[in-house]
């Protein structure tokens, strides 16, 4: 089983399978890239409305193709139908949001379920037709790469590549609009046009991904990779890169697994692969991951106790925690007899000065200090700007003169 999987993943599972895998990987990459922007624009859920809204279009496209060409399963007709009803869905969400008091999530929920309901009815009607070609139409619900033709996979690959490139070319503009649309508009950037372009790229990913991932699960393709990427970086460019990689590798592995077990819908295997990467990031990512946050919590408690201990030593108070004494000995603040070393005195003096400055800050700017999560935990020079520290120092000196 494993060797078979490795064969498939190393492009030895036949030409057709290889093209399908490559197309899927590129699709995942495109979803990951455009997903970053819809997540940061806080529009991630709209992709769910788009994908569900495509179903009536797919079924109508099938019926039109059947009437015109004699066979319903013609990819161009299905894609065109999906695109048109996807656009209608988005417009309807927008219209409801603009003209009623309903919030966006209610509008999305309403449109999503109504379009999907209509689609299911039309699909059931198609099943009753005495035509052999309707078999496999339900693969658009959960995705199936097993039945994918080579030409379909090639088309998906090309479109995915174009979408990815377009999104990367507009990285600077998209980023600006996502971060601060009002500012972007004040500079003369057309926010509505850039939003429209983002929406069009999102729609394009959904439509070309229908066959591979299926309309029920395709939202995962544009949400899980960017959310995963956010765990690893604080930079937009890197986030786009990591998200593209996550999406690409998820689709590649997921489609490979599905090729091995053709009875599993490929949408499900792809989403589960992406979820695995998400869970790994959730726990293991540095700084933002659960494990790192837990470690930070422990380190943070140690830092407070150490600060407390240095201040206690400075005021001639005894230390009660043997663990803390041990660690102060190891860092050289105390010698083996528990006396303060020369460098220890230095550290204590520095820490007491730092605490005085923090206390001064709390006295002078209580509101700012409360809002500051680092208050008195980190060294003040790591947190506050130099001009503010100078000011605190001056005031501290003046006060000390008064008390003397």
């Amino acid at each position: 089983m494993l060797t078979e999987l490795l064969d498939i993943l190393s492009f030895q599972g036949g030409y057709n399978t290889s093209v399908v895998l490559l197309g899927s990987a590129l699709l995942g990459m495109a979803g990951g890239v455009i997903g970053v922007f819809s997540l940061l624009r806080k529009r991630a859920l709209i992709s769910d409305a788009i994908s569900h809204a495509t179903l009536p279009g797919i079924t109508l496209g099938f019926l039109v193709a059947l009437a015109l060409t004699g066979t319903g399963k013609s990819l161009p007709f299905l894609m065109a139908g999906a695109t048109i009803s996807g656009i209608l869905g988005v417009l309807l969400v927008q219209w409801i949001k603009d003209n009623t008091r309903l919030p966006e999530d209610s509008a999305i929920g309403t449109v999503l379920s109504s379009f999907f309901g209509l689609g299911v009815v039309l699909m059931s009607y198609i099943q009753t037709l005495r035509d052999g070609s309707q078999a496999g139409l339900e693969s658009y619900l959960l995705g199936s790469t097993a039945s994918m033709l080579q030409s379909e996979a090639e088309m998906i690959a090309i479109f995915a590549l174009v979408i990815t490139l377009a999104a990367i070319i507009f990285l600077k503009e998209f980023g600006l609009v996502c971060f601060d649309p009002d500012y972007a508009a004040s500079r003369g950037w057309s926010v509505s046009k850039l939003d429209l372009l983002m929406m069009a790229l999102l729609l394009a990913v959904v439509v070309i991904g229908l066959k591979t991932v299926g309309l029920i699960l395709i939202i995962a393709l544009v949400i899980i990779p960017p959310v995963t990427a956010r765990f690893w970086t604080d930079r937009l460019g890197l986030m786009v890169g990591i998200s593209a990689f996550t999406g690409g590798i998820s689709c590649f592995l997921g489609a490979g697994l599905s090729a091995l077990t053709p009875d599993f819908p490929s949408g499900a295997t792809i989403v589960l692969t992406a979820t695995t990467l998400f869970l790994l990031s959730l726990f293991l990512a540095p700084r933002r991951g659960v494990l790192a946050t837990g470690l930070q919590q422990i380190f943070f408690r140690y830092r407070i106790s150490r600060r407390r201990a240095l201040l206690d030593l400075g005021q001639g108070r005894p230390l009660f925690s043997p663990l803390l004494v041990l660690s102060l000995k190891r860092e050289g603040t105390l010698d083996s007899h528990g006396h303060i070393t020369k460098s220890g005195h230095q550290k204590i003096k520095q820490m007491m000065r730092d605490q005085d400055l923090w206390n001064q800050y709390l006295t002078d700017y209580p509101e700012e200090a409360f809002a500051q999560k680092d208050w008195s935990l980190a060294m003040i020079s790591d947190v506050l700007s130099p001009d503010l520290i100078n000011e605190l120092e001056e005031r501290l000196q003046r006060q000390q003169k008064v008390t003397v």
Binding site: L40, E173, G175, Y183, Y365, L384, S385, D387, L388
Partner: protein, 270 residues
């Protein structure tokens, strides 16, 4: 067309020479949200070279006035010109510091990234940000005393530091007319001084700053002109003539206690 026909206000024309060359000239501006007027029949000419405080009680339409002047929200009526031409054609001359609370500070960007956004106009469509641009942006971060924080994710900055980053971004635009929406809210005294210094520099360079300001106490110290607003304009002009007990009482009504007023007015003469 229909909007023009239906407009109840007479069509204002900006004919005086002063208005034609002013950094910002507004005639008969009205804005409404959901059938409720928020700014009503506002006319205002900003001085060339000067710092204008826009003051007024909560809900007086101060932010709305700025957003409408920038063309960010639709207006019911009124004419707005910037240095004699339409706002849309003069955007390269306009700098904007939005309210700090208007953006998501968890956004994946560093302080330097945000300042670099001020240069996007110069960089142009689809061109990437280069090293030289980042170096330029760094200079503006230094100007507001934030060079040490350039690489920090913006959510890790204090409120005052975030405000300085916004200010540096506006400076990077190298505009002639600046709009600032409550830059002094929730900042420490060092940031307040840094902002005041930047304002003075801008004025010395011959620029005009229009700044929503909530603190009546400091307004006469920091600004030399005032626009007092309570949906309709109450008064505008040089600080000494505008910032009077009568005008403030008129704008704030019962919301300003007489004791507060008497504390304020001696400042106005300075």
């Amino acid at each position: 067309m229909i909007a023009k026909l239906l407009r109840l206000q007479p069509r204002h024309s900006l004919s005086t020479d002063e208005a034609r060359s002013a950094p910002l000239a507004i005639e008969g501006l009205s804005v409404a949200y959901h059938h409720k007027p928020v700014v009503w029949d506002l006319s205002f000419v900003a001085p060339a070279q000067g710092l204008v405080a826009v003051v007024g009680p909560n809900g007086a339409g101060k932010s709305t006035f700025i957003k409408a002047a920038l063309g960010l929200i639709p207006k019911l009526s009124g004419e707005i010109t910037v240095y004699g031409k339409s706002v849309a054609s003069q955007r390269h001359l306009i700098g904007y510091v939005p309210q700090r609370g208007s953006v998501d500070w968890d956004f994946p960007a560093s302080a330097l990234d945000v300042v670099t956004m001020g240069l996007y106009g110069k960089i142009g469509w689809l061109r990437p940000v280069r090293k030289a641009h980042r170096a330029t942006a760094m200079g503006y971060l230094e100007q507001v005393g934030m060079a040490d924080f350039a690489d920090r994710q913006i959510g890790q900055l204090s409120g005052g530091q975030q405000q300085r980053v916004f200010l540096a971004r506006a400076l990077a635009q190298d505009a002639a007319l600046y709009f600032m929406d409550e830059p002094f809210v929730g900042v420490d005294a060092a940031t307040e001084r840094a902002i005041v210094n930047v304002l003075k520099d801008l004025k010395d360079q011959g620029k005009t700053v229009i700044c929503v300001h909530h603190d009546l106490q400091s307004a006469p110290d920091y600004f030399d002109h005032a626009l007092i607003l309570n949906i309709r304009p109450v008064a505008s002009g040089p600080m000494a003539e505008t910032f009077t007990a009568e005008n403030l009482q008129h704008a704030y009504g019962g919301r300003l206690a007489p004791s507060e007023l008497s504390g304020l007015i001696p400042l106005a003469g300075q």
